[in-house]
Symmetry: C2
Subunit: 239 residues, 2 copies
């Protein structure tokens, strides 16, 4: 697994980035955005399979995903691994590492990707001067906590079919928020990775997807997914 990270000296202009509304510089004045731009020193590119960071490595920066798709996973001593999330463009990754000054999970590109690196020291410094940036950073961290609690609910009290339904709907919403189709997209991860995330074995994921297809909720062929009945899926979760 090569670690071929190419650093371009090109600065990313947040001001011209179409993810501005999802990413860090939300609700900032143009002058403030310029300051944030200043600290996203470099863009880094990753090939599929590359590690953005590894568990145990020293914490330096948060990363904003510009393009592509990542997974994060924690490893248990006995070799068990658990996927803790799938991250897409506009999402901030690396928050877990602030706690101990070193990363507590691996982050791996599931497709060719680009990220903006934000040195955390600088980010803290800047957020002392820009209250709205400070508050937004807090919101991002809090949002991650809420997301994790949602997954705890899912893992703790939903059946396989509900877990898959909730998972697919979540992906759908996030694609929609980025201007992509809510009902038709490619799964970037394997059945095994979905299973790890949802606390299921890959065979169960496969069977359950087939079941959802039989019921007419989805059409799945390999990694191509069509959500045929989003309202139906949603209400099957609330039932």
């Amino acid at each position: 697994m090569q670690q071929s990270i190419s650093k371009t000296s090109l600065k990313i202009a947040c001001s011209s980035c179409n993810l501005r509304e999802l990413c860090l510089p939300v609700n900032l004045s143009p002058a403030e955005v310029a300051l944030v731009e200043n600290l996203t020193q470099q863009k880094r590119s990753f090939r599929r399979g590359d590690y953005l960071y590894r568990s145990g490595s020293k914490f330096q920066s948060l990363y904003a995903i510009r393009t592509g798709f990542f997974k994060t996973q924690v490893l248990h001593e006995d070799g068990r691994e658990q996927v803790t999330g799938f991250q897409m463009a506009g999402e901030i990754i690396g928050l877990d590492a602030i706690s101990t000054d070193s990363h507590t999970c691996d982050a791996i590109a599931l497709e060719d990707s680009e990220v903006c690196e934000m040195p955390f020291n600088s980010l803290e410094e800047l957020s002392r001067d820009i209250p709205s940036l400070q508050h937004h950073l807090h919101k991002i961290m809090s949002r991650e906590i809420v997301r994790d609690q949602g997954i705890m609910l899912l893992l703790g009290s939903m059946r396989a079919e509900e877990r898959l339904g909730a998972f697919l709907l979540n992906l759908s919403q996030r694609y929609a928020a980025r201007g992509y189709s809510a009902s038709s997209f490619q799964l970037r991860m394997t059945r095994q990775e979905i299973g790890s995330y949802l606390g299921l074995k890959l065979e169960t994921v496969s069977r359950t997807l087939s079941l959802l297809q039989q019921r007419g909720f989805i059409q799945i062929r390999n990694k191509s997914l069509d959500l045929l009945d989003i309202p139906g899926l949603q209400s099957s979760l609330k039932a």
Copy 2:
């Protein structure tokens, strides 16, 4: 369920609080501690069963637990509930609410308790002036993210016996960090609440505790717990 919240006008002196090393004012100079004291305006007392806050209520403050024991839980539309954590003295509660400006879970006292209320606006303001406070706040939020990921691992890939073992060891460590016995303490929550937290039914919790007792790892009678073989419990998790 009465909401009898008595607000005492007495300020809590962080400087004389024995939780200082666990709570918010870590690594602060005496002068800085005084500023933090200034914003923990009031102490609030709760009886067992009282709500500290409810899901949906407006976010105003974070809370530091001074004495007592709380649980947090999220409610699903269909009535399912999931306990997302148990909090004890020195821990900060309410972080989830920053995200949407309203609480996303209920926080309920499991025994008579006292909390220090910290208005979040003031906290953000103060942390702009005290970088070490700012950083510590970030650490606390990050720690919560890491904790949640640990629970995801537990819920996603551990068997009942391992979940209980990890749960009891976690309680043990936290009591020890507060100067209490690591091997002998009272469970503050019901089997049902433990089960909700661990993604198990209460009968399974009960059976599994009996099993751990048979194996000589623990002695449990009602809510009184003795950990008879902590190293054994630990190694049974890594196996």
